[in-house]
């Protein structure tokens, strides 16, 4: 028998939640239990009293599944609000990455030159390595990592996407 999957769309969801124990497990568990995908997930508390956290989830799935993901998230008691940034309108996505590259001679110079073009900043240097810090939309980070791969890439750490709607209104 065949097991088929429908065509996927990428969506960025901003979820505000009560900052209480187990909420992250509840959300990630919901995704595994119902067979949804998580491409990236970031979380940090965002209020002065540490009572509310904002979780940004990048997911993918057919439109009907994305709708279910939003509905299932909204059903959780500690969830305040789910905003699908992808459908809500123009929005900004940013991600931070740390990228370690080793090399000497021309490769090292080329790495530094490319870093400059991408506005990546060296945050650690030895005579044979750099750690670059780069911030930007995920595809920019992807491109930079792809270039560094040819110039002695050793290690990558990425934060995952944080997103926000453009314009004066909040999500």
């Amino acid at each position: 028998m065949k097991i088929t999957e429908a065509a996927s769309e990428r969506h960025v969801l901003a979820v505000t939640v009560d900052n209480e124990p187990g909420i992250l497990a509840k959300i990630t568990g919901l995704f595994t239990a119902r067979g949804y995908n998580i491409d990236s997930l970031t979380v940090a508390d965002i209020t002065e009293d540490h009572a509310v956290s904002r979780i940004t989830i990048v997911t993918n799935g057919p439109p009907s599944v994305i709708d279910q993901i939003e509905a299932q998230l909204e059903r959780l008691v500690p969830v305040h609000k789910v905003t699908d940034l992808t459908t809500a309108g123009p929005h900004v996505e940013r991600e931070l990455a740390l990228i370690k590259v080793t090399g000497t001679g021309e490769k090292r110079v080329e790495a530094l030159r490319l870093a400059d073009i991408f506005r990546a900043r060296p945050v650690d240097t030895t005579t044979e390595s750099f750690i670059f810090e780069i911030t930007g939309p995920p595809d920019k980070v992807d491109s930079f990592i792809a270039l560094m791969r040819e110039l002695g890439l050793v290690e990558v750490g990425r934060t995952g996407v944080v997103g926000m709607l453009r314009g004066p209104q909040g999500a």
Partner: protein, 600 residues
């Protein structure tokens, strides 16, 4: 905690003595919530709470024989009374044993508050004796759960737990309380710091423009149908009354899921019977051919829809549900209305106003044609056991001899459950308690105990199978202890009948492990527990046996031996459409392709 002041007359909610321990606060809050019964089983990690309950006149503790029984009994109580069921179990195995009942309540949207003991906070995470990560284990089978680490949070947590369990789409809520939190005396009471206005606010009223649009759709339908579910029952008896009223003014025929039986009276001429896998031919055909379907508090379960791409292909679908995530989950609908069934029904009736219903004569005539197939007819005699009682006949006679007493019927899970749904007519809500979503064998006996406690004078019958009943048979002792006159009516065919039926239909009658070997003598078993035991073997003794069961003022097991080869029909085979039902007399080749085999 000797000398605690809370044993005095119940203080008011504002007057809670600061000297109360966590356990005393818990009991006090349960009383505040109007809890009559706690279904539980003691153990090390809940001893402080049990000590508070000792001699407490306000709450009656029902001692079960296994924690699964506690959860199912609480479910039965909740389904019959509409009030939340409360469970109290210890840590570790106490909690894990209750998980099946919690998952059952989750699937069927039954309000439960389950209090579990936990090892002291300092020992959490050390693999201590009887430690289990209860909050982790129950995270995805509860509506919400809590680990209370500070007794100052306890009162507010219990309050919120009851609110969450009983409002919106009801469901189970677990409160895990470490033993030291039960003993500690908090110096203050905290409100839940997180209980802001954004947290948990279910929508009950539908937007007016949606109601107007829905009324237009219904009023202009040529072939409307109401497809109702457990949400109508959960919404309260008023919702069932409003459903009957809306049906009356629109004239649309009504079918229901297993969970929704009783919301609409089975004696009504526009009642189509249950729909779905073992639903009636007329209900499934009407679902397939309708032009406007109004789904009220049901969730397009796979047992209801059959093959999804062939499900009611030409209809406009309106779905009323309090849970937004139920809408468009498996079946895309034209109009999703988020709201409480009762509230939305009242809104629809008001918006309908004094409209005249369309003449649905042509539609009703087609339905009459489908009814004429008499899909629930069954052979007089079994081919294998021609002398034995047909199980359908047993349920029909049970209904005939008891329906005037308006009984509460519980079931286990399997063929007997479907026969009960098909042949026992229900006229009122909250009279039919069955495990629909999770399909939990062993549900019926403890559920009957819970229902009987809620309604001490009611006739409560667990229609059971000989296999299912053994899954929580230990609860016979609970009924004996509390003098509950529960009746168990076993349709004994010596097989896990539904498994056997599927093996006949799908695996060429290779009956792998579905024979109920080494059965106990149920009559002697009944007597061992102080129950009355009755065995019925001949059809001519059927009525007499049922009457003897009814006449006995105490608990009774009836072991009714029935034909072993009877199948539960009609049936939509897995992977088939509503229009492809198997009826009695249809030839079955006993195999299926892998695509169909893979479906449950």
């Amino acid at each position: 905690m000797p000398g605690q002041p809370d044993k005095a007359p119940a203080p008011t909610s504002s007057d809670t003595s600061p000297a109360m321990s966590g356990a005393a606060i818990l009991v006090h809050e349960l009383v505040e919530q109007g809890v009559e019964f706690v279904f539980g089983y003691p153990g090390g990690a809940v001893l402080p709470i049990y000590d508070e309950l000792f001699g407490d006149e306000r709450i009656r503790h029902i001692l079960v024989r296994h924690e699964a029984g506690a959860a199912h009994a609480a479910e039965g109580y909740a389904r019959a009374t509409g009030k939340p069921g409360v469970v109290l179990v210890t840590s570790g195995p106490g909690a894990t044993n209750a998980v099946t009942g919690i998952a059952d309540a989750w699937m069927d949207s039954i309000p439960l508050v389950v209090i579990t003991g936990q090892v002291p906070t300092a020992l959490i995470g050390t693999d201590a004796f009887q430690e289990a990560d209860t909050v982790g284990i129950t995270r995805h089978c509860t509506k919400h759960n809590y680990l209370v680490k500070d007794p100052a949070d306890l009162a507010a947590t219990v309050k919120e737990a009851f609110r969450i369990a009983t409002t919106g789409r009801p469901g189970p809520v677990v409160i895990d309380i470490p033993k030291n939190v039960q003993i500690a005396v908090p110096s203050e009471r905290r409100a839940l710091t997180r209980a802001g206005s954004h947290r948990y606010a279910p929508q009950t009223v539908a937007p007016a423009e949606q109601i107007i649009e829905a009324v237009e759709l219904i009023a202009n339908a040529q072939r409307p149908i109401f497809y109702t579910g457990g949400g109508v029952i959960n919404s309260g008896p008023e919702a069932s009354r409003l459903l009957r009223q809306l049906q009356d003014i629109t004239g649309a025929p009504v079918t229901s899921t297993l969970m929704g039986l009783g919301a609409f009276p089975s004696a009504h001429p526009d009642w189509l019977g249950m729909l779905g896998m073992h639903g009636t031919y007329e209900a499934n055909m009407a679902m397939n051919k309708c032009d406007v379907m109004v789904c009220i508090g049901a969730r397009f379960d796979d047992r209801v829809t059959g093959r999804l791409d062939a499900f009611s292909p030409g209809s406009k679908k309106i779905h009323i549900d309090i849970d937004r995530s139920s809408i468009n989950k498996t079946v895309p609908v034209d109009m999703g209305i988020v709201g409480d069934c009762g509230t939305v029904l009242a809104q629809l009736i008001e918006a309908w106003g004094s409209r005249q219903a369309k003449n649905l004569g042509e539609w009703k005539a087609r339905i009459a044609g489908w009814r004429a197939r008499e899909c629930l007819a069954y052979p007089e005699r079994s081919a294998k056991n021609p002398g034995m009682i047909m199980p359908q006949k047993a349920v029909e006679r049970l209904h005939a001899l008891t329906h005037q007493r308006n009984p509460i019927i519980t079931t286990e899970v399997g063929q007997h459950q479907m026969w009960a749904a098909q042949y026992f007519g229900f006229e009122d809500p909250n009279k039919w308690l069955t495990s629909g979503g999770l399909g939990t064998m062993g549900y019926g006996l403890p559920a009957a105990i819970g229902a009987q406690l809620g309604f001490p004078d009611a006739l409560v019958i667990d229609i059971a199978g000989e296999a299912s009943i053994q899954m929580n048979i230990q609860e016979l002792g609970t009924a004996s202890q509390y003098r509950l006159p529960v009746k168990i009516f076993i349709l004994n065919n010596e097989y896990m009948g539904m498994v056997r039926q599927w093996q006949e239909l799908t695996y060429e009658s290779r009956y792998s492990n579905s024979y109920s070997d080494s059965l106990p003598d149920f009559v002697k078993l009944a007597e061992a527990y102080g129950w009355k035991g009755i065995r019925i073997t001949e059809e001519r003794d059927l009525d007499d046996g049922i009457m003897r069961m009814l006449d006995h003022n105490g608990p009774v097991i009836v072991d009714c031996l029935v034909a072993q080869d009877a199948n539960c029909l009609p049936m939509i085979p897995s992977g088939a459409a509503h229009t492809e039902m198997l009826l009695y007399g249809d030839k079955v080749d006993g195999t299926m392709d892998d695509e169909a085999k893979a479906l449950v």
